[in-house]
Subunit: 618 residues, 2 copies
C-alpha cells in the first residue's frame, strides 16, 4: 500500500467514522469560485492525484469517486489508477451528478450526514444536494427517521492535510490609472451607484478578478492569474478590503506595503482576510449600518451565504462588475494592442526558430519548444509572465484539446505533420492568448484539409458583421459551418472572453453552442479558436483574439464587427487553396499584410525577410 | 360622428360608468390562445377597425389605445385614423406594455377596477397585470385605500356587440389513420402515459391544433386553420370532447354527425362545449375522480385557470403534444411530399402564366394574380383550401413583410422590377407554404443584388449539416450571414414550424435570432425564408419548407441535414452569378434538376418545356 492516495482516503475515512459523517465532498474550488486554484485549494489533487482543472471528490465508507467532465476522462483514468478512486463521468448523457448519486447511494440508510468544506462549496451545489435529498423523501429535520444533514466544516482539509499550503501572500502592486484607463475611485463610485439602483447600500465582492479590476491592484496569488486572494466590502460610508492574515504585519515586501498604504490614503481600509465574517456579521446586525447587502451568488461560498442569508438583508443578483469589466476602455484597448505587438514578435521569432531547427535536423521536444517560446516572450519589454500553461503538442498530443506538455521525456518533434502551440502572456499592458498550428514537413491530405477547414471557420467568424444585440451563441455556427459541411466538428467552445491583465477566461460573453443571451458589445475581447481533434493522429486549432468594434449604422440598424488583436501569420504552405473562397483569401492576405507591416520593423533583418515570405499574398 | 368605432367606444364607456369599471381590456385572442381568430373573437376589429393579427385594446374614461408590434404600425396608423384610438408601440425599446401603462395611468387614483373577458385573456397577461399593480404599491384587498380589482366578465363583448357571431359550427371530418399515420387510440394512450409520468391522472387540452392532432379530426372553424373549436379532457377512465352548443342536436350535417358517432363508438364522449367548466368542477371536486390535472398554461384562458387553480389539483407544464406533433411520422412525411408535388405544379403553372401575361402586355393586378394562383391550386386533386391569405405584392408593396393585397383597386403589375408571392395550400395530405420573388422585366442593380443575397442565405441554410442537439437559433445566422456581410438584414424570423394539414405556424421549434432551446429533430418541418425589405422600393423573400433528416453518424457524432419539400424553381435570370459560391451554384442546379424531374411529367408540354429552360443549370 505505497500509493499515498489510498492512505489519505483511509485516513479521511477514519475521521469520518469518528465524527459520524457518512460522506465527505471535496471540490476543485476555492472560497472565491476561482477557475484556477492556489496550491492551498488543490485538495482534490492532494487526496486523489488528479490534476485536471475540474473535478470533485466524494468519499463514503465504501466508495471513493471523482466527478469530472469529458475534457479530463483520459487523464483521470491514468491518474486515478491504483488509488481505488472511481471515475464518474459528467457532460455525458448517462451522467449521475453528485447530489443524485448520494441520494441513491444512501437510499436504504436512515439518516445521512454529509460533510463539506463550505468555503469551497457553491451555494448552487449545496442547494442541489438539498433538493436531491428532498426529492428522495428525506427530511432536513434531524428528528426525522429519514433525515439528511449537511455539515459545513470550513477548511475541512486542514484536519488531515499536514503541510497544507497557507493562503498565498505574493506581492501586491498598484495598476496606475494611465494603464487601467480609469481610477479606482471612479470604478467604486460607479459600483455604489449600480447597487443603489438595486436598492442596496452595500455590496460584497468575492470574485478575485472583479476585486482586482475595481481596486486597480494586481498580485500573483494564483499561477497565471494576477489576482489577490481577498474580499471587498463596499458600503456607503466606507470600503473594506479583507486581504492577508495581517496586512501590515505579515509582509516585508515594500511594494505591497506601499500598495496598502496608497489604498488607505484613499480611504480604503485594508483589513485581515479572516475579518470578513465578523465585519459582515456586525454590519448586518441591528444598527450595524447595512440595510441591504448585494452580492453575486455565483462567486459566494456556502459558508458566507449561510452567515448572510439569516440576516434577511441579502439581495442576490448578477454582479454588474462582470459586464463593465468585459467592455474594455480605450486605454485598455490600446494596451492590449501594444501587448499583442510584443507577443507577435515573440511568436514570429519562435516560429522562425522552430522552422530553422526542424530544417536543420536539430532535436527538439515539445518541452524545449515551449521553453524557447517562454524565453522569447520573457524578452518582451512589458512581459510579466504567461497567462496560462503553454500547450506545446506534436502530432497525436495535439489531438487532446487540453494536452499537458510533459516536463520530462516530452515527445520529440519530427519533420512531418502538424505541431500545435497554444500559449499566452501577461504584460503590464494586457493579456494575450494565441494558438498556431504549423506543419513541420510533409503533411497528409487529411492534415491539410483539416488545417484549411479550421482556418476557414476561423476566418468566417473573424470576417463576420452582425447587428447590435447579437449574442455569441447566435454566430458560433459561422466558425463551425465549414467543418459541419463535411461532418466534422470540435467539442469545445469557439471563443471565451479575455481579461485586461487579468484572467485569460472571463465572462459574461462567449461564442459557443449555448444559449448565453449576453450580446457582444463594442470593446469586448473574445477568442476565435475553432479546432479539430483526431485521436492518435493530429489536432488543429487556430486562435486569434478579436476585439468587437463598431461597424457603422444604416437603414438596417447598427452594425458590429471584429478586429483581430493577435498578430502572427498563419502558415499558408499547407493550405488547400481550392477550399477557400475569394473572400477568405482576401481576408487572409489583408491580415498577413497587417502582420508584416506591424511586426516586420520590430524583427531582426533575417526574421523580417522570412516573415515577408510567410505573409506573401496567396 | 359617423365613425362607427367612436360610437362603439362611447357605448362601452357608458357601460363602464354604469358598472364602475375604470378600464376594459379586449385582446386579439380567443379562449384557446389561437394565433388566428374565428369572427366571433374579432372583438378588437369590431371596436377599433384594426385588422392586424396581433393587437390588444385598453379603454378608460379618457383614453382608448391599441397595443401592437412593429409588423403592424403602418397598418394601425391608417386603420385607427378618425377613431380616437391611439397606437401604443410594442417590440420597440421605449415600449410601455399594458400592465405598466395601466399602473401609471391610474397612479393617482385610489381604487382601480379593470374588467377583462377572462376567456380571451392568458394567465400570463393577468399575472403581469397583478404584478404591475403590486409593484405600484396597490393591494388586491378591496378594503384597502389603494386597491386594484380585476373583474372577469366571460364573453364581455356580448354586452355591447349586437349581432356578434356565434361559435362557428363548420363540418367536422375524420382524418383516417392511413392519412394521419397513427390512430387516435394510439395518440391518446401515449398522452395518458406522458401525463402519468408527471404523476397526473387527467389532462385538459385547450390548444385547437393539439386537439385536432390527438383526435384525428379536422374542421374549418377558423379561416385557413382546419381546426374545431373545442376542449378535450382525457382522464384515466374516459375521454370527453367538449364541442358545439349541442353536438348531436344543432347539426344537420351528416358528415359531422358521422364523425361524432364514430368517436362515440370508440368511447370518446362528445359533449357540449359549454359543459367543460361543469365537468372540470365535478372532476376536481372531492371524489370527482381527478387527483392531478395536467394542462399547459400557454393555451389555458384565465377564466378556466381561475376555476381550476382553486382546486389545488392543478399541474402546469409544457404540453407534450406540441413536440410529438412537430416530429412528423413517415406517413405524414409522404403526404407532405405529395402535397408539395401538387402545390409545385400549381406554382409553376402560375409563374408560367404570369410570365406570358406580362410579356403579352396584359393588365394584371396583384389581386388578379392571387386569384389565378388560387384557381390553379384549387385544380389540384387533394386541394382543400389555402393555408393562409395569399400575399401577392408588386414593387413597394412587397417591402411590407405582412402586406395585405387589396381586394379592390389592387396595384397593377408592371413589366419591370420584382413581384413577390407568399402563399400556401391545405391538402388532404398536408400543408404547404412557399414564397417566390420573380422579375417581371428589367431589374435595378440593387434588386438583383438583394435577390441574389437573399437566395444565398436561403441556400446556405438549406445546405447546412449540423450535429444532433443543434437548435434553430444556433443556425439562423447561416441564412443571414450573406446579407450581414454587406450590412443588410431582415426583421422577421428565418423559419417557423409547419403543421400536417394543420396550422401553417406551429412550435416548438423555429429558426430565428432567439434563445429557443428546442433542438431540430429528424421529421420536423420548418420554413427557410430569409428576405429583405426596402421601403418604397422592393421586397425579396425566398421560402421553401425544409424537412429535417438524418445525415449519418461518424467519429464526430450524429448528423442532421435538410431536404427541401417545396418544389418550384427560383428565377435564375436575375441572379448576380459572381455573388454565388460554387457550392451554392451546385445546390441550386441539383435542386432545379429535381424540380424539373418531379414536376415536368405533370405539366402540359408547353409548360414543361418552359420549366426545362427555367431549371437549366447555371
Amino acid at each position: 500500500m505505497d500509493n499515498p492516495y489510498i492512505e489519505r482516503v483511509e485516513a479521511l475515512r477514519g475521521m469520518m467514522r469518528r465524527r459520524g459523517w457518512d460522506a465527505v465532498i471535496l471540490t476543485g474550488s476555492d472560497p472565491h469560485a476561482s477557475e484556477y486554484l492556489a496550491p492551498r485549494w488543490k485538495q482534490v489533487e492532494w487526496l486523489s492525484g488528479f490534476t485536471g482543472e475540474a473535478g470533485d471528490l466524494v468519499i463514503t465508507a465504501d466508495h471513493a469517486g471523482l466527478w469530472t467532465d469529458t475534457r479530463y476522462f483520459i487523464q483521470a483514468v491514468a491518474q486515478l489508477r491504483g488509488t481505488g478512486i472511481e471515475l464518474h463521468k459528467m457532460r455525458v448523457p448517462e451522467q449521475v451528478p453528485i447530489p443524485e448519486w448520494l441520494a441513491e447511494h444512501f437510499a436504504r440508510k436512515d439518516g445521512v450526514v454529509v460533510a463539506v468544506d463550505g468555503l469551497c462549496q457553491s451555494v448552487d451545489a449545496v442547494q442541489a444536494l438539498e433538493s436531491a435529498f428532498a426529492a428522495a423523501g428525506r427530511s432536513d429535520d434531524p428528528e426525522s427517521d429519514y433525515f439528511y444533514r449537511i455539515v459545513d466544516v470550513p477548511d475541512l482539509p486542514d484536519l488531515l492535510w499536514a503541510g497544507r499550503p497557507a493562503i498565498p501572500h505574493t506581492p501586491v502592486t498598484l495598476m496606475p490609472p494611465e494603464v487601467a484607463g480609469e481610477t479606482r475611485r471612479k470604478r467604486l463610485e460607479w459600483l455604489r451607484r449600480a447597487v443603489a439602483e438595486q436598492l442596496c447600500d452595500a455590496v460584497l465582492v468575492c470574485a478575485l478578478d472583479e476585486i482586482a479590476w475595481l481596486l486597480n491592484v494586481r498580485g500573483s496569488d494564483i499561477d497565471y492569474n494576477p489576482m489577490v486572494i481577498s474580499y471587498l466590502l463596499v458600503r456607503e460610508d466606507r470600503i473594506d478590503w479583507f486581504v492577508r492574515k495581517d496586512p501590515f504585519g505579515d509582509s516585508d515586501d515594500p511594494e505591497t506595503l506601499d500598495t496598502f498604504a496608497a489604498l488607505e490614503d484613499e480611504g480604503i481600509r485594508v483589513l485581515p482576510y479572516d475579518d470578513v465574517q465578523l465585519a459582515l456579521n456586525d454590519g448586518l446586525s441591528e444598527g450595524g449600518g447595512i440595510n441591504r447587502l448585494f452580492t453575486d451568488p455565483s462567486s459566494l461560498n456556502w459558508s458566507l451565504y449561510s452567515l448572510l442569508s439569516g440576516s434577511g438583508r441579502l439581495c442576490l443578483g448578477d454582479s454588474p462588475v462582470q459586464l463593465r469589466k468585459a467592455v474594455k476602455n480605450p486605454v485598455e484597448i490600446e494596451g492590449m494592442r501594444r501587448a499583442h505587438r510584443q507577443d507577435g514578435v515573440a511568436m514570429e521569432l519562435f516560429l522562425y526558430w522552430l522552422e530553422r531547427m526542424v530544417l536543420g535536423d536539430k532535436i527538439i521536444t515539445e518541452r524545449t519548444a515551449a521553453t524557447r517560446l517562454g524565453a522569447l516572450r520573457a524578452a518582451c519589454p512589458d512581459y510579466l509572465g504567461d497567462s496560462f500553461e503553454t500547450i506545446s503538442a506534436y502530432g497525436p498530443g495535439a489531438a487532446l484539446p487540453h494536452y499537458v506538455t510533459p516536463v520530462k521525456d516530452a515527445p520529440e518533434l519530427e519533420a512531418r505533420g502538424l505541431y500545435l502551440c497554444d500559449s499566452g502572456g501577461q504584460y503590464t499592458c494586457g493579456t494575450t492568448d494565441i494558438t498556431r498550428t504549423v506543419p513541420l514537413g510533409p503533411c497528409t491530405a487529411l492534415e491539410r484539409e483539416d488545417y484549411t477547414l479550421v482556418l476557414k471557420g476561423h476566418i468566417d467568424l473573424a470576417m463576420a458583421t452582425f447587428p447590435e444585440g447579437t449574442a455569441g451563441c447566435q454566430i458560433d455556427a459561422l466558425a463551425r459551418n465549414p467543418l459541419w459541411r463535411v461532418k466534422r466538428n470540435f467539442g469545445h467552445g469557439t471563443g471565451h472572453g479575455v481579461g485586461f491583465r487579468l484572467g485569460v477566461h472571463e465572462g459574461p460573453q462567449d461564442i459557443r453552442q449555448n444559449f448565453n443571451r449576453q450580446p457582444l458589445l463594442p470593446g469586448m475581447i473574445t477568442s476565435d479558436e475553432p479546432g479539430i481533434y483526431r485521436e492518435g493522429l493530429h489536432g488543429v486549432r487556430h486562435e486569434n483574439l478579436l476585439l468587437c468594434v463598431e461597424a457603422g449604422r444604416n437603414d438596417f440598424g447598427r452594425w458590429l464587427a471584429f478586429e483581430p488583436l493577435t498578430l502572427c501569420h498563419f502558415e499558408t504552405s499547407v493550405l488547400v487553396r481550392e477550399l477557400l473562397t475569394q473572400d477568405e483569401i482576401e481576408w487572409l492576405n489583408a491580415y498577413h499584410e497587417r502582420v508584416y507591416r506591424t511586426l516586420g520593423p520590430e524583427l531582426p533583418a533575417d526574421a523580417a525577410r522570412w516573415l515577408r515570405e510567410k505573409t506573401a499574398a496567396i
